[in-house]
């Protein structure tokens, strides 16, 4: 990016500065022996054009909306349209969550995002012995189509897009969404949204798994194949780094493992015979925005550039939409502290700023009380307002990718990219991500990083305000509690549904799912037929558990 004589002059200037600096440091040394990011990347005191001397503007940075998309995926970015403000919500039963959805939409939220309770996430009904103590606590309880109908009461599905954080039973929840839309008179061609549907990161990090990796991938490819033809506006997977990061990964590991998962999905869909340009434009991504500001911005920029290269060079995709890494961001839950919880508002705001400067397409901001429970209405309002202030007061949206050209940010983007490629090469050598997971490779890498970070917190090498520094007592805050009658109501409704539906028909539909599971036929049409007859999530998942077997945690530590 710089002419040789310019670089020579800069080199001379830097030598002079280094000499002056070393004199000063001999008298008053720097505060720390090493300055590092939260991921332990060492950061220099000063970056100059020398640090990005090999950078080629047109090749490496370019223009928004144009390959390699380092500056963003849309030509106008936030000047055209703001990111979608999408608050991850789910509490108690569908009634409570429907009320929360209406509240958030009335307060300026622009997209929905469902948090399911653990039994739904794991493919159990509320009345299963496995669900004892869990109903409605970490999200909304959904057992049958009946619950989904209540969840979306008064919400027109052709007017809003919905993201569903759901993995093993993702196809079932998508089927329910399609049928709810159908009952509203909205065609599946017109609905928009996302299912997470990313099982590989479940084995690596989030750990809501049910079936072994291979049948899990098969069901995912079924949803990709079906949606490509029938639900064209649906994002079929949200390839997620968020949970990898929350489990303790570094920024580089988050990026590398996520893209390696993406590679595995593209390969699996192509093996099915799908054309890459037919399905790749509907793949989406989901990243964490952690507290280390510049590291996160560099990570987002590197992610776009890397995915563009992967899709164009490795998979020979021709459609520019296949090259684009579109992503949702959530601020880092693991950066929040139970101590002095109001500080979490500040942390979340910085993290949201990093996500926006990194060019996110949608954003969830955590609430101050989320280290304790599902957020209260008051807490979630502050979190939503944080995004609105960012979008409409701070002015950071006025120009696209404002940190491009910063010697530091460009150098850090390059460094993160290089280190992430190294991991991807290693995973390729192992035979791809499924093989790497079977060897426990990403799991062990993450556990190692998590342990190292905890040691750094315990020793005070890294600071957590209110936890290992500036510790004071703080008064307790009011937290959301689930009322016991919600569980009773949920169990009562499930009983009523099972009594009033056509049980003969349900049995037939479940048999069809069993046959399709065995003979390899696409499962989606059968799942849609089954949920329309009010088959429960567990009834369908039990068929799969019988046909495919279960995955159990190898318990590495």
């Amino acid at each position: 990016m710089f002419k040789e004589d310019q670089l020579k002059k800069i080199g001379e200037g830097k030598r002079k500065w280094t000499e002056d600096l070393s004199k000063i440091l001999s008298e008053t040394p720097e505060r720390l022996p090493r300055f590092t990011t939260i991921s332990d990347l060492e950061i220099k005191g000063l970056y100059t054009p020398e640090d990005i001397e090999g950078l080629d503007y047109s090749r490496d940075i370019g223009f928004p909306g144009i390959y390699p998309f380092t500056r963003g995926i849309q030509p106008s970015m936030y000047r055209g349209r703001l990111w979608t403000m999408r608050m991850f919500s789910g509490l108690g039963g569908p009634e409570e969550t429907n009320k929360r959805f209406h509240y958030l939409l009335a307060h300026g939220e622009t997209g929905l995002s469902i948090a399911f309770h653990y039994p739904t996430l794991m493919g159990y009904d509320s009345d299963s012995p496995m669900s004892r103590g869990e109903v409605g606590k970490c999200g909304v309880a959904i057992d049958t189509l009946k619950d989904m109908e209540i969840l979306f009461e008064g919400i027109p599905l052709d007017k809003v897009t919905t993201s569903m954080t759901i993995n093993p039973p993702a196809s079932i929840l998508l089927a329910m969404y399609i049928v709810v839309a159908e009952k509203q008179g909205v065609s599946k061609k017109d609905i928009g949204g996302t299912i997470q549907n990313d099982m590989l990161k479940e084995f690596i990090a989030q750990k809501t798994f049910m079936l072994p990796p291979k049948p899990s991938l098969r069901i995912i490819v079924d949803t990709i194949e079906y949606c490509t033809k029938e639900v064209p506006r649906w994002n079929t997977i949200s390839i997620s780094g968020y949970h990898i990061r929350e489990a303790g990964a570094t920024a580089v590991q988050e990026l590398a493992f996520t893209l390696a998962d993406g590679i595995a999905y593209v390969e699996a869909a192509m093996e099915r015979g799908l054309n890459v340009d037919d399905f790749a434009p509907r793949l989406s991504f989901f990243f964490d925005s952690h507290i280390d500001f510049f590291e996160e911005i560099a990570k987002f920029r590197a992610a776009r550039r890397m995915w563009a290269k992967i899709m164009r060079e490795r998979f020979m995709a021709k459609n520019p939409r296949s090259w684009m890494l579109r992503f949702h961001t959530q601020t880092a839950g693991c950066s929040l502290t139970a101590q002095q919880p109001y500080n979490n508002v500040v942390r979340t705001a910085y993290e949201a700023l990093a996500a926006v400067l990194g060019g996110t397409q949608s954003l969830h901001t955590n609430s101050l009380d989320e280290t304790y429970a599902i957020p209260t209405e008051e807490a979630v309002t502050i979190a939503l307002r944080t995004q609105q202030i960012l979008a409409e007061e701070t002015g950071v949206v006025n120009t696209i990718d404002p940190l491009a050209g910063s010697y530091f940010v460009e150098a850090l983007t390059n460094k993160i990219e290089e280190q992430a490629w190294e991991y991807i090469r290693k995973i390729d050598e192992m035979g791809g991500m499924v093989a790497a997971i079977e060897r426990g490779f990403p799991q062990a890498e993450i556990a190692e990083s998590a342990y190292r970070y905890q040691k750094q917190i315990d020793s005070g090498e890294k600071v957590l305000v209110g936890v290992n520094k500036y510790v004071t007592d703080h008064p307790p805050i009011t937290i959301w509690r689930m009322k016991p009658e919600i569980e009773e109501r949920q169990l009562r409704r499930l009983r009523q549904v099972k009594e009033s539906r056509n049980n003969q028909k349900v049995k037939e539909m479940l048999q069809k799912i069993r046959e399709a599971s065995q003979n390899g036929e696409n499962l989606m049409p059968h799942i849609i037929n089954a949920v329309r007859e009010y088959a429960t999530i567990q009834e369908i998942c039990d068929v799969w558990r019988e046909v495919f077997g279960r995955y159990t945690d190898p318990g590495y530590f």
């Binding site: 103590g133 869990e134 606590k137 750990k207 693991c334 307790p476």
Partner: protein
């Protein structure tokens, strides 16, 4: 010389948040305890039978899903039923301050909430758990 302290780190319920359980398992191992980790998604019955089979001195339960008010009492009840109430039960995770008295009353010896240094948990184990034989 008595044998090393043996601890079962257990992840009950459906939640998959195992970062804390794994960090504490490694921390305990580095502190010289023998550690067995159950892996995720264990029922109270599975945890108690693993504890008895492995002949542990204590069970450390990690729960972040809000199901602590069901799981802890259930584990303690099952230990009593099997005549293994001398196995100490402690735990950690997302557990609201106001829920802790009820848990200690039912027999949970200690609850470690977010932000506890590994060292503090290690110290507590050394002071409060003795090898049962």
């Amino acid at each position: 010389m008595s044998r090393k302290i043996r601890i079962l780190i257990a992840k009950p319920g459906l939640d998959g948040h195992d970062r804390g359980a794994k960090v504490i398992a490694r921390g305990f191992r580095d502190a010289g305890f023998e550690v067995i980790y159950t892996g995720l998604h264990q029922t109270p019955e599975q945890i108690v039978s693993a504890a008895i089979q492995e002949d542990v001195d204590a069970i450390g339960l990690s729960i972040l899903s809000g199901a602590h008010d069901y799981i802890f009492p259930e584990v303690i009840e099952l230990l009593k039923k099997k005549g293994a109430e001398d196995i100490v039960v402690f735990g950690g995770g997302i557990i609201p301050e106001e829920d802790i008295p009820a848990l200690t009353q039912c027999g949970v010896k200690a609850i470690f909430t977010p932000g506890t240094p590994i060292e503090e948990a290690v110290k507590w184990v050394k002071e409060n758990i003795k090898p049962r034989r």
